[in-house]
Every structure is written in C-alpha cells, then in structure tokens.
Symmetry: C2
Subunit: 355 residues, 2 copies
Amino acid sequence: VAVSRVRKQIDEALYSFVDGQRPLLEAVSGELSPLLGALDSLLSGGKRLRPAFCYWGWRGSGGEDIPEFFTAAASLELLQAGALIHDDVMDSSDTRRGQPAAHRRFAALHTESGWRGAAEAFGSGGAILLGDVCLTWCDEMFQGSGLPDDVLRRGRPIFDRMRTEVICGQYLDLLGQARGRRPDANAMVEAALRIVRYKSAKYTVERPLQLGAALAGAGPEALDALSAYGLPLGAAFQLRDDVLGVFGDPDETGKPAGDDLREGKRTVLVALTLQRADPGQADIVESLLCDPALDAAGVELLRGIIVDTGALDACEMMISRYAADASKALASVGLTAEAREALAELTVAATARTV
Amino acid sequence: VAVSRVRKQIDEALYSFVDGQRPLLEAVSGELSPLLGALDSLLSGGKRLRPAFCYWGWRGSGGEDIPEFFTAAASLELLQAGALIHDDVMDSSDTRRGQPAAHRRFAALHTESGWRGAAEAFGSGGAILLGDVCLTWCDEMFQGSGLPDDVLRRGRPIFDRMRTEVICGQYLDLLGQARGRRPDANAMVEAALRIVRYKSAKYTVERPLQLGAALAGAGPEALDALSAYGLPLGAAFQLRDDVLGVFGDPDETGKPAGDDLREGKRTVLVALTLQRADPGQADIVESLLCDPALDAAGVELLRGIIVDTGALDACEMMISRYAADASKALASVGLTAEAREALAELTVAATARTV
C-alpha cells in the first residue's frame, strides 16, 4: 500500500513539473510540441524505482511527507528518461516501455511530413535534444524542488556523483559491446560486472537511497550501511533485467523477445555463457550477437546455448546470492521499520522472475 | 586588457573544475580517459564569450572579482561544450575549433583499436555521452561554485531558462534543415531569425549577461535593459558567424571552407539568398546545399549566387543595423562605465569581419 501511494505522489510531482514547462516551450514555438509528445509518451511508463528508493532513504531517516521532497525525488525520473532516450539512440532500439523509442518517433514524423534528408538522422537528432532537455530538467526540478538550501546542499554531492557515474557506466557498456569477446573469459565477466555496478547498482538503488537519506540528514556511517544493501540489490536487479531481456515475455518487458541479443549487449549473462562455452558454441554466440537481422530461430539457438552451458543457472545463482546479501544488509541499515518493510517489498519486486 | 584578464581567470576556473573530476573518472575505470581527452581538446579552443558576457553583467552590476563567481561563469563553457559536441554529431561535422570533432575522435579510436561493429556508431555514442557529461558538469560547476545560496538562487531562473532555450533553438534548427525551402520566402527568413534568437542571441549574449547581473542582485528593469543590448548584439554575432561560415578563412574559423553549406545549414544568409534568387538560382542553391560531397567548385558557385542576389550585402546591412542597435542600447544599460567599455570592445570583436 505504501509503495503504491508513493508512486502516485511521485507521478503527480513529475507531471506537474513537466506541465509547468509547457508554456515556456509553447512561447518559443508551436513546432516544439513533438518534443513534449515524445516525453509524455515515455513518462507514461516506468516503475519509478529510483524515486521510490530515494523516498525510502528519506522517509526511513526521519524525513517528512512533504511535496517538496516528492518533487526532488521525482527529478530522478527525468535523469532516467534522458539516459533511456540516449541509450536507445546508441543501441538503435525500436521500442521502449512498449512504445516506439523517441528517435523512432522523430524519424516517423520526418517520414510522414515528407521532409528532406534522412529520416533516421532527424530521428537521432530529435532524440539527442530531447534527452538533453531531460538532463537539464532533472537538475532544474531537483534544485527548484522547494527544499531548503541547506537540505539540498546535503544531497548535492550524491546527486552529482550519481549523474557522472551513470554516464560513465554507459560509456563502459558501449566500449564492452565494441570490444566483444576477449581472450580472458574471467576478465570479461568482471568487466560486465563493473558495468552493472556503475550503470545499474549505484545508479538505480545505492545512490537514490543515499540521496534520500542524505537530504534527511543521515551521516557517513548510515550512508555506508545503505551501500551495503543497495549495491547487491542493484546488481540483482540488473541481472534479473538481463535474464528477462533474453527469456522474458515481450508483453511484460515491453521489448521484443531477444532484443538484448539483437543489440549485442555484453551482459553478465552473455559473459557467463562465453566463459562456459566450448569453442564451437562461443563462435555461434559471437556470430549471432549483434546481428540486427537475428530471427526467432537465432534467438532460440542462443537461448539454448545460454541454458546448455549452465550460464542461466549461474546467473540465477548470482541473483539469489546478491538478493540474499541485500536482505541481510537490510537488517543492519539505520532506517525505520516502516522503511525496511517497504524496501523488503521492493527487493522482492525488483528481483522477481517476472516484471 | 580587462577582457584578456577575465579570459585567463575563466580558463583557470574551468581547468581547475575539470581537473577536479579526473580522480572520480579514474576511480571508475582507466578506460574512461578518452572522454577526458576529447573534452580537454575541445576546451583548449573557444573564445569564452558566454562567461565574458556573464562577467560583465556581474561586474557592471557591482559584483566583486571573487573566484567563486569565475567558477559559476566558467560553467557556461561546459554547456557550450555539450551543445557543440551534440551539434557536431547531428550535423556530421568533421572538425570543431580546428580539431577533429568529438565523434570523429571516438570513431578513430574504434578504428585504430580494431573493435567490432561500425566505427561511426561508436563515435556517435561516445560523443553523445561526452556531451551528457558536459551538460551535467555545467550544472554541478555552477551550483557548486561556492557562491552563497541566496546569490545562486537569484541567478537560477535565468540559468535554467537559458539551457532549455538553447536546446529548443537547436531543435528548431534541425527542423529548419529538414524542412528545406518553403514556398513563402519571407516566412523562411523569419524562421531563420527565430532560430538565431534562441540558439544564439539569447544563449550567447542576453542570458549570460542577465545571469551575471541577476547574481549580483540586478532587478527586472535592469535585466530588461540588458536584453535590449544583448539580443541585437547576439543576432549580429550569429549573422557574422554565418557569413564567416561561407566566406571565412579556414585558418581563422577552424572549419573547412564552405562547411556550413555542405551541412545544409538554413542560415539567415541562405534564407536571404533564396528570398532574392530567381527560380534557376534557387534550384541550384537547393540542389547543392546538403550535398555532403560539395566540392570547391560547388562552394564557389554558391558563393557567387549569395553575392549576386545581393543576399550578402543584405546580411551585412542587418549585421550593421543590429550592431548599431546594440551600441545604442548599451548607452542605456545600468552598468558601470568600466563594464560598458569592455562590452563595447566585445561588441566590436564579436561582429568584426574576421574571427
């Protein structure tokens, strides 16, 4: 109950901020409406996980339920929106949250309008700029949340570090895909885990939790205890996402089956597969990964190898171990009982075998 | 003398901030050094115009020469860096400030390293992420400048609006290029002028000046007077840039001759040309603009039409009129005599016929 109530308040804060920006864009030009249309579409989906973790860090450290805090926490959804929009350009993803990716929307607008030049280039350009809008609005929303200056100042170092970390994590991800298979399979698993750490574990769980707690006045020791919970939970969450990206139901994930494989994502699951594969299997994995025309049969073949090598079992074991570590650490965090209960609920939701 | 002293202090603040971020990136991964390398290369060039206008707004409104202010003002260079990096991806520009554009650097790294997939896609991805880093660092640097909270709060609405406006201006620019020639030539000139207003006049001059003045405590009337100076100066500055983009010396502009023509930029100069062209000339302009393989002979042909139609003269007249409007308005701004003198110097420098 508490979790869905928080979600509602986060949504209200988010939509209220975006609505407040409409007049500015309309004053510049009526031709900017596709930017807002694409943003509205993206924001209509999403689990609001980061604001939720931020809320429980705050609430569990003695913060009150005030609208200013919900505004500050909801700003994380704009960071996430910007990251997803740019990610989809880089990965050439077609869909996001069950809808066309932003760059595909802009490309479709170009085609429908019969404009000059390549629709794809216009699509990427529009999406790059929409992502930029989201990144600057994230910060405008956070800093303009109405929280007192001394409160904001407490959260600021974490807010800043989180943003740099997630972008760095994305660069490492891009690099991992470009590098592909490396001779040392263990190093490949480690590299994939480092991407998980920065792109997901810190960004999705640890930093939002710490941000909320820091805003509420938590000290360094309390923040460290939250890391001990947030990092394994965030890793478990990402590994679950990786498994769903290969084996998940498209109706639930909002992405076509096997999309992660088609995009050649160098996930931990893929690294574990290559670590365990015989040379023949490894060659098949390498040749099929990153094939934009990968069909259902190819996806089935890859899934078979991921299962047969034992990589799926190994990944599920890692998820269980991380989730157990997180649950254990949760008992030691200095948060209220109410917050610990809500986080236990989020832990289950974030690592469950369905979306 | 004052102008070059300011530039030195802006540079020091900028490099000091970027150097302060190195350890964080190094702690994440040694593989992030190409991001910093590309940023260092970009920041080694540039005229620091926006921080300079911000400084004179501040100084002329009674602000003191304190390091905290130089840090806040220098943050505008990171916004500019992010905008240029993303712009170059969208325009597929090869060079920036006489060096390879960021996305070309990342693409070259991909090729040299023999990585998988398309070097160009890696290049764009790296540049998108580096631009994102710059956008978030701009705000981190501004908010973390050390200026007191009440001072920052005075500047914040302008800082926020400026960022949204420049991104919106870039979207309108992208749209203008996609639309190409429109039946109503006057509407085309107006559309080009609106892009100049948001992408340049406000962003380069008006908002930085107002930001400095607002931080120093200037009220609404003083800010309006700065608009009356900043908007025409910013427009003159951009029109000069457009002329140099077609007729300028590559050694001075840092871009190959005719690069703007090759990229199909829908500048005011181009709109004025199409407005005055006969149907035959207009067809030539439309067919050559946006031709990525446009050679020296094509550039010469286009230059000839721009001159023959009288568009170049018309553009020079607009520049003179805007510059005169700015100079006239400068006499009425409520800034100190020292600031007005420095701004008069910047007015000349920003609109002169050479870079």
